[in-house]
C-alpha cells in the first residue's frame, strides 16, 4: 500500500475541520449567557426565537422592564434564572452596583453595592459601569472603569473584593475604561491597559489572589480579552492591543504565542470555525489549526473594518459594523459580499447579537434594527423603538433577549 500524501492531507484537513467546527458551536438557546458576547464570545443565540418587532408605544413583546439605579453602558449576562448587570450612581458615579434581576418577572433578586476606590471619571457618554460582568456558573465577577472588582456567589454574598487602583495606583484612564473580564479555569482575567500602570492579570476566582500579571503596552485600550479553544482542546485567552496580539494560558499567564500587530483598541477579537478574527487592518483572519505556534494569517480585508462593535460569524459569513454600515464578508476568503447602511441609525456602540439569522443591532438612541442576513444582502426587516439609550451588548437566553439600557433592563420575548 502506497502512502498517498494528498489523501492524507485531505483526511487530516477534514478531521481538523470537523474538530474546528465542533469547537465553535453557536450558543444553544436555553443556555446561560455568562459574559460579554455570550459563550465563546460568538454573540449568537442560534436556536432562539426572538420577536422581530417589539417596543414602541404599544410595548409590543416587552416581557418586562425594570428600572435600575444610576447608569450603565455595559451589557447584561444571564445565569440560570438571573439576569445580572452593573450600574454606577451618585456623586461622580462613585457608587458601584451589582444587580440580579429575576429573569421570569423582572423583580430584583439581590443587590450589592460598593464605592469606587479608583478614579471614577469618564466621558459624559460613558459610565463607571462600562464593562459587562462575567460568571463561571458559581460566581459573578463585576468590574468597573475605576478598576474595582468584586466577586459574589449566585445569592449575591460577597466572596472577595479588590481595588486594583489601590494596588496599582496609576492604572486608569479618565475617558473611562470598558474592557470586560472573562473567566476560565478558575481564573478571572482582566485587561487594564492605559498610559499609567498598564497590565493584564489573572485573579483566582475563589479568593481574588493575583495569580499572574503581565505588563502591557502603555496605551489606552478598551477591547476585551476573548476565550479561544484551540484544536488540541487547550483554552487560551486572546488579548489584543495597538501593538500586539497574544495568547495566554489563563492559570499561569504563560504566553503561548504573540505577534506584532496593530489591532483596534475598541472592538474585540473572537474565534469561529477554527479561525481567529481580529479587528486589525479592517478585519484579519488567522488559522488556529497550528498548535503552540503563532497562527498564520489567512486573509485581511480593510473593507470589513469595525470601529466599535465586535465582529461576529453566522454560517459562512462574517459581519462587521463601521459607524452605521453593516458589512458582510466570506468567512473563508475574506472577500466582501455586501454592505448596507443602517440609514436611520445614530452612533452604534453595542456589539450586535444574532438569533435565527436575524441580526439585532442597537443604536445609542435606543432604536434596534433587525437585519435579515442573506448571502446577497442584508435587509432591514424592522426598526424598533425602546425609547432609552442602549450602549451595551444584549444577551440571549431561552427565547428572550435581555437588553441593558442606560437606566433599565429589558426582557424582550414573544408574548
Amino acid at each position: 500500500m502506497r502512502f498517498n500524501i494528498h489523501k492524507f492531507y485531505k483526511t487530516t484537513l477534514f478531521a481538523l475541520g470537523l474538530t474546528a467546527a465542533t469547537l465553535s458551536q453557536p450558543h444553544a438557546a436555553h443556555a446561560d449567557w455568562p459574559m460579554f458576547r455570550g459563550p465563546n464570545a460568538g454573540s449568537v443565540g442560534i436556536d432562539a426565537k426572538l420577536p422581530i418587532k417589539f417596543g414602541g408605544d404599544e410595548k409590543e413583546n416587552i416581557a418586562w422592564r425594570t428600572e435600575l439605579p444610576g447608569r450603565s453602558v455595559g451589557g447584561v449576562i444571564v445565569v440560570g434564572d438571573q439576569a445580572i448587570t452593573t450600574s454606577s450612581s451618585g456623586m461622580d458615579q462613585r457608587r458601584l452596583h451589582l444587580i440580579s434581576v429575576n429573569s421570569k418577572d423582572g423583580s430584583i433578586r439581590w443587590q450589592q453595592e460598593f464605592v469606587a476606590r479608583g478614579r471614577p471619571f469618564c466621558h459624559p457618554t460613558s459610565a463607571n459601569a462600562a464593562p459587562t460582568p462575567a460568571s463561571d456558573g458559581k460566581h459573578v465577577f463585576a468590574f468597573y472603569s475605576s478598576n474595582d472588582i468584586a466577586c459574589v456567589d449566585l445569592e449575591g454574598n460577597l466572596v472577595w473584593y479588590r481595588s486594583l487602583s489601590t494596588d496599582f495606583p496609576k492604572a486608569g484612564n479618565d475617558v473611562g475604561m470598558s474592557s470586560s473580564p472573562v473567566v476560565l479555569d478558575g481564573v478571572c482575567v482582566v485587561q487594564i491597559e492605559c498610559q499609567g500602570d498598564s497590565f493584564a492579570a489573572g485573579l483566582n476566582a475563589e479568593d481574588g489572589k493575583v495569580l499572574w500579571k503581565l505588563d502591557r503596552p502603555k496605551q489606552a485600550n478598551w477591547s476585551s480579552p476573548t476565550i479561544v479553544k484551540m484544536l488540541d482542546g487547550t483554552q487560551v485567552v486572546i488579548m489584543q492591543s495597538s501593538e500586539d496580539l497574544l495568547a495566554v494560558e489563563p492559570k499561569t499567564g504563560k504566553v503561548f504565542w504573540e505577534m506584532k500587530l496593530r489591532c483596534s483598541t475598541i472592538p474585540s477579537s473572537f474565534a469561529a470555525e477554527g479561525k481567529l478574527f481580529v479587528p486589525a487592518g479592517g478585519l484579519t483572519a488567522f488559522d488556529l489549526s497550528s498548535v503552540g505556534a503563532s497562527p498564520s494569517k489567512l486573509w485581511d480585508n480593510n473593507k470589513l473594518s469595525a470601529n466599535a462593535c465586535s465582529p461576529l460569524v453566522v454560517g459562512k459569513s462574517v459581519y462587521t459594523i463601521s459607524r452605521t454600515v453593516l458589512a458582510c464578508g466570506d468567512l473563508f476568503s475574506g472577500e466582501s459580499k455586501w454592505q448596507t447602511r443602517l440609514a436611520d441609525a445614530k452612533s452604534i456602540w453595542a456589539s450586535p447579537v444574532v438569533a435565527a439569522n436575524n441580526l439585532y443591532v442597537f443604536s445609542d438612541d435606543g432604536r434596534c434594527f433587525v437585519v435579515e442576513l442573506g448571502d446577497k444582502e442584508g435587509k432591514v426587516v424592522a426598526t424598533n423603538e425602546l425609547g432609552e439609550a442602549v450602549l451595551g451588548s444584549p444577551a440571549i437566553s431561552g427565547n428572550a433577549m435581555y437588553v441593558r439600557g442606560v437606566s433599565s433592563l429589558w426582557k424582550i420575548a414573544e408574548k
Binding site: P69, G90, M91, D92, R94, R95, W110, Q111, Q112, E113, F114, V115, R117, R119, F121, C122, H123, D148, A150, V152, E155, G156, N157, L158, V159, W160, Y161, R162, S163, T166, D167, K170, N173, D174, V175, G176, C194, Q195, G196, E206, D207, G208, K209, V210, A220
Partner: protein, 375 residues
C-alpha cells in the same frame, strides 16, 4: 451553698461585663458575638491592599457569612474608622445582611441614618434602602441634609433643593453648603440670573496668579522625569530669572487667569508649542498650619511639588480631564507656601490632542476652597 451561687453569679456577671466591653469597643451597640466574628470584622476594618490582605479578608467574610451572628447594624457601625478598601468589604457584608432581614429593621436603620457620627458611606447606603420605594420620605430627609457630614448625602440634598425655584438668600445658603464643583457652578449661574454676581474662580479656590517659564524640551516625550535646573533651583529657593529653554533662553512671565474655572491655557500662551514642558509657579499664603488638598485638572503629563515635596506625578496625555481630576493631601504651613507645576506636552497630531492646559485649586478635604491670604 448560697455563697457558692453568689460567687458563680458574680463570675458570670464579670465575664459578661468584660465580654460586653470588648464588644462595645468594636460595635457600639448590640449583643455579644463570638470571638471569631469579632476577629473577622477587625480583619475587614484594617484591610489595606495586596494579596495577603485580600486572602485574609476572603477568609474573614467566609467566616462571617457562615457564622451568621453579626447584625446588620453592627456591620454598618464597623465601617466607622475602617480603611477605604475595608469599608467596601463591610458594605458587601451589610448588603447581604440587608437582603436577608433588613426590611424588618426600619426603626434601627432610621436611627443609624440620623447619627451623623456614623460613617458617611454606610449612612448613604442606609438612605438608599430606606428611600428607594418612598419618594416622600426621600424628599423629607433630604430637606434636612444640606449640611450633612456625608459628602454624598449633602450632594443629593443640594441636587434635590435645586429642583425648585429659590430666592437669592436660599441660593446663597446652598452655595455655602455646596462642595462639588458642578453644584457650585450651577448655584452661581442661578444667582447670576437673579442679579447676584459671585467670583466663581475664588469660590472654588482656583489659584489664578502664576509665574510661567518655558518652553523646555520634551521632543519624543522623553523628558517627563528629566530634572531641569528650574526644578532644583526652585527647591533650593534660588530660582534665576532666565534659563536655557528648548531653542533659546526663556524668562519667567506673570500670568493671571480670568477663566471662571481657573484654566491656564498654555497652548494659547505658548503658541501651540508641541513636544515641550512649561513650569508654573505660585505662592500661596496660608493664615495657619493646616491640612489641605491640592486638586489638579490637566490633560497633559504633569507633576506638582508643594514646598519642595513632590505630591503627584501623572505621565498621561490626552485621555480626559476635569476639575479635581487628581486630588492629593498636602500640609500647608502658616505663611508662604511654594507650588510648582510641571506641565508636559507631547507631539500627537490628532485634532483632539492639541489641548495644553491645567487648572489647580486648594481646598479642604471636603472640597471647600482655601484661599491665599488677601484674596
Amino acid at each position: 451553698m448560697q455563697v457558692r451561687l453568689k460567687t458563680q453569679t458574680i463570675r458570670r456577671a464579670a465575664i459578661f461585663a468584660i465580654g460586653f466591653s470588648i464588644f462595645a469597643t468594636n460595635f457600639d451597640s448590640g449583643d455579644v458575638r463570638a470571638d471569631g466574628s469579632l476577629d473577622s470584622i477587625k480583619v475587614l476594618q484594617t484591610l489595606t491592599s495586596g494579596d495577603d490582605g485580600t486572602l485574609a479578608a476572603s477568609k474573614a467574610i467566609k467566616q462571617l457569612n457562615k457564622a451568621n451572628d453579626v447584625t446588620l447594624i453592627q456591620s454598618l457601625t464597623a465601617m466607622k474608622g475602617a480603611t477605604p478598601v475595608g469599608r467596601n468589604w463591610l458594605l458587601g457584608l451589610a448588603n447581604s445582611l440587608y437582603g436577608k432581614s433588613g426590611k424588618s429593621q426600619t426603626a434601627e436603620l432610621t436611627k443609624f441614618l440620623a447619627d451623623a457620627n456614623q460613617n458617611g458611606e454606610a449612612r448613604y447606603l442606609v438612605f438608599q434602602w430606606l428611600t428607594s420605594n418612598n419618594a416622600v420620605l426621600r424628599k423629607e430627609l433630604l430637606a434636612k441634609m444640606n449640611q450633612d457630614s456625608s459628602p454624598e448625602l449633602r450632594f443629593l440634598a443640594i441636587d434635590e433643593a435645586m429642583k425648585i425655584k429659590l430666592e437669592d438668600k436660599e441660593l446663597s445658603m446652598l452655595l455655602d453648603a455646596a462642595r462639588h464643583p458642578s453644584q457650585v457652578v450651577s448655584i452661581i449661574e442661578k444667582l447670576k440670573e437673579l442679579g447676584v454676581i459671585i467670583d466663581q474662580s475664588k469660590q472654588l479656590g482656583f489659584v489664578h496668579e502664576w509665574r510661567l517659564i518655558g518652553p523646555f524640551d520634551n521632543v519624543g516625550t522623553v523628558n517627563f522625569d528629566k530634572v531641569f535646573p528650574v526644578e532644583t533651583d526652585w527647591a533650593k529657593g534660588t530660582v534665576k530669572d532666565e534659563y536655557q529653554g528648548k531653542t533659546e533662553a526663556v524668562k519667567w512671565k506673570q500670568h493671571t487667569t480670568a477663566e471662571l474655572e481657573g484654566v491656564v491655557d498654555l497652548a494659547v500662551l505658548y503658541e501651540k508649542e508641541k513636544g515641550c514642558i512649561i513650569y508654573a509657579a505660585a505662592e500661596f499664603e496660608s493664615d495657619k498650619d493646616q491640612d489641605a488638598e491640592v486638586r489638579l485638572g490637566c490633560i497633559n503629563g504633569n507633576k506638582i511639588w508643594v514646598n519642595a515635596k513632590l505630591v503627584t506625578s501623572n505621565e498621561v496625555y490626552h485621555t480626559g480631564t476635569q476639575i479635581d481630576q487628581y486630588a492629593e493631601p498636602i500640609r500647608l504651613k502658616a505663611g508662604k507656601n511654594q507650588i510648582l507645576v510641571k506641565v508636559c506636552q507631547n507631539e500627537q497630531k490628532e485634532q483632539w490632542a492639541q489641548d495644553y492646559k491645567f487648572q489647580l485649586r486648594i481646598c479642604d478635604s471636603t472640597g471647600k476652597a482655601i484661599l491665599t491670604k488677601g484674596r
